[in-house]
Symmetry: D2
Subunit: 136 residues, 4 copies
Amino acid sequence: MTMTANELQQYLQEIFPQFGYRIVSAGDNAAVLEQGTDTSHLRPGGTVSGPTLMAIADAAMYIAILAQIGKVALAVTTNLNINFYRKPTPGKLRAEARILKLGQRLAVGDVLLFCDGEKESVAHVAITYSIPPRQA
Amino acid sequence: MTMTANELQQYLQEIFPQFGYRIVSAGDNAAVLEQGTDTSHLRPGGTVSGPTLMAIADAAMYIAILAQIGKVALAVTTNLNINFYRKPTPGKLRAEARILKLGQRLAVGDVLLFCDGEKESVAHVAITYSIPPRQA
Amino acid sequence: MTMTANELQQYLQEIFPQFGYRIVSAGDNAAVLEQGTDTSHLRPGGTVSGPTLMAIADAAMYIAILAQIGKVALAVTTNLNINFYRKPTPGKLRAEARILKLGQRLAVGDVLLFCDGEKESVAHVAITYSIPPRQA
Amino acid sequence: MTMTANELQQYLQEIFPQFGYRIVSAGDNAAVLEQGTDTSHLRPGGTVSGPTLMAIADAAMYIAILAQIGKVALAVTTNLNINFYRKPTPGKLRAEARILKLGQRLAVGDVLLFCDGEKESVAHVAITYSIPPRQA
């Protein structure tokens, strides 16, 4: 039922051709995603835009959940809370997601976002997914 | 110091050429923005993607703030909390922002998001902006 | 199935003897609660404590939900996001809750908090409740 | 300038006599607090109340900040986002806070909450504190 990073990468590109992330790892209630950023991801001042950060965080949590429960294309985000606290510099963006609770109806976790080669995260994201009923 | 909807529309397109929103109204601690959605804004299942909703909400709050305090290109979002609670259908998207507090350092408010012609909102967003020191 | 402010006040004091709020109004997807504050609600500096604000906000949303769907003692908060943006002064505290979505499984809404006689709110709270399955 | 767990315990009980937490550890951008719960902390159904969880989380982040920057009684919470995802059982409550960013004006971090002897957390809390200007 669970899926590996490679299987997930293929599956995501099938169901969602615009999927622009590299799945670095997935499993054990966690996932790591990376993305190159270009000018379309920047906002005035040359920093990576907020929606770019929210999008990769949301995707990383989704991948962490799929890695645990398999293909559930219909899991949907119900709540996302993001704290931005450093200027994200252009370059490679990295999202590290962990699941804190995976229940029957809800999955809850958080994501730390990092810019290329930096040790300190630029934003913290708490995310809740609603997951459709599964069969035993 | 305050700016009208038209002045803001021009200013935003100058400093941020990708700005893809129509400023319907701005002023009195509020702003309304609209956006057409196309396939680039959709996710599997045909609903408008979460980052699309977050982006217009963030922009609407930014416009509401600029309408009060004038050109402050460097105001940045520090916290955004979004609750998604209905499937957003493709078509025109509308964001209604109100400022709840506009202080020296922080602006706090919320945004309701609506899909084309529907009465009930599809998501609620609470947003905090950090604003740089202003001159008297 | 719906309940009036008076019925709710009685019901709450029955199931939860410590319930210390006055239900000013309830119904139409909204509720207003008031509470006197004493020294046990204050923190150093003489302001009303954060947990006091969160508690009345949470209660106001609960009452707004009960007013719509009747006695559902088991509804539980799953997410609460609060922005504090003014110093709450001691005295009467007032919470105005509105429901933005009341679904089969989740109720989502927000609450504005006011201090005695002031026009501008001191905090904004977004709240999600999980509600147990109901019978038709 | 930094303070140890013991110094913090004394300081807190001085400035805030009702402080009811045991500071297990503090330092290195983190803090752990514990609290016994009694019937005043319970809600109908026998679970620990939400405000009890929010209060200890808020205190744990405050202690983590004080351990880094010393006595700053006036640091105030500006945003708190809590996801409740397991029923908290009565007994000892434990809060583990970590600081993700400690800037000149804002401190951002998160807190995991645990019930007596359990491995999995019952709630996740993201918190932002505003900190007053410090001297060099």
